[in-house]
Amino acid sequence: MEDSLLKLLVDSIFTKNILLVFFLGMCSFLACSKKIKTAIGLGAAVTFVLTIATPVNWAVYNFVLRPGALSWTGNAELAGLDLSFLTFITFIAVIASLVQLVEMVVDKYSPSLYAALGVFLPLITVNCAILGASLFMVERNYTVSQSAVFGFGSGLGFWIAIVALAAVRQKLEYSNFPRGLRGLPGVFIISGLIAMTFMAFGGM
């Protein structure tokens, strides 16, 4: 029995949150969560790229890379090819060009957001969440609609988590933390607590 799309969506947002359960996209999660505004912008960019990149990579994988994927060309020699060892490098290339596109659009329509995201926009290319989602899509044999929903849901999950962390961090800015806990260690403890609350969605 195949899971319904709605279940997949809810799963990827909450119980199988790509950030808090699979730890993908940690670097930008930690670095871009000092201010709520930056967090919202980054979350939006990640969601956008994920929603497009996952189905595009699905198409590339199923029509070019998979063993026997080239059979639609009708050429027996091509149909026998197995290009799956090129998967990683192709996915990265697709993601890099998509990010370039997003960068130009954001730069044109919202220069202030562009300045706020700074170096993290090009770094979405090497955001593990995006590549990770594409690889999970291959590993779990999603159909095209499933992969689109999965990409969108993962993006939303990332968005919610990063905004939640940014909100907590902003509040804690002036609190009296022990000296050694300031900065990174404190953020980890907060993320751990957020991850526990997300686990509760899974009915733990």
Binding site: L20, V21, F22, F23, L24, G25, M26, C27, L30, A31, F85, L86, T87, F88, I89, I92, A96, P122, T125, V126, N127, C128, L131, G132, L135, F136, E139, R179, G180, L181, G183, L184, P185, G186, F188, I189, S191, G192, L193, A195, M196, M199
Partner: protein
């Protein structure tokens, strides 16, 4: 100029990539539920960082600045593909359990970060040493975290039973939290805390 030894030794503790530079957090949390995956991941990352540092550093005078990122990604991706194929051939079980995380070495910030921060400005041999040092520093954290998580979470170490059967009969039970995500967060937090505290004390207030 620092000596070759210190180039290699500082990133292992004082300038640890995971705890101080905050690079490569994703995978250090994800693959540490048991020691065997943590160890494999540590070795793979060391190999990839060291080789990519060496290759890109020897190419650094010929790479045009504008397409730098793309060249770096291609070199790293090729190295990761080779690592993945080697793992599939010689350690299939572990590579199955690591699943997508071997591929994710491509986007592991340690690799990119060290290439950008060190290899592009230094000669090949120091770059190689820097790569090895950072890989080992990363591996050390993985080993530590995965040891704690496996012993506390499953009562084993590298698959061997560590917690005696008698303890279970006396009412001891494994700490499920350690296997799950939050456990990893708390552990890394404690490690980073201990390390910052140590450096603060040593450095004089």
């Amino acid at each position: 100029m620092s000596s070759p030894f210190s180039t290699m030794a500082t990133p292992i503790f004082r300038n640890n990539p995971v705890l101080v530079q905050v690079l490569g957090i994703c995978s250090s949390l994800a693959v540490t539920t048991n020691v065997s995956t943590g160890l494999t991941m540590g070795i793979s990352v060391t190999a990839v960082v060291a080789l990519s540092n060496l290759i890109l550093s020897s190419m650094r005078n010929w790479i045009p600045g504008k397409i730098r990122m793309i060249v770096e990604l291609v070199v790293i991706a090729v190295l990761v593909i080779i690592t993945d194929q080697v793992l599939k051939a010689y350690a299939f079980d572990v590579s199955k359990r690591l699943s997508v995380f071997v591929a994710l070495i491509i986007t592991n910030c340690i690799v990119m970060g060290r290439v950008e921060a060190f290899a592009l400005a230094n000669k090949p041999i120091p770059s190689l040493l820097d790569g090895i040092g950072n890989g080992l520093g990363y591996g050390a954290v993985l080993l530590l975290v995965s040891t704690v998580r496996e012993i506390a979470g499953s009562g084993t170490w590298l698959g061997m039973q560590v917690v005696p059967q008698a303890a279970y009969e006396a009412g001891y039970s494994n700490m499920g939290l350690m296997v799950l995500a939050p456990g990893a967060f708390f552990l890394i937090a404690l490690l980073a805390w201990a390390q910052t505290e140590f450096l603060l004390r040593k450095g004089g207030k």
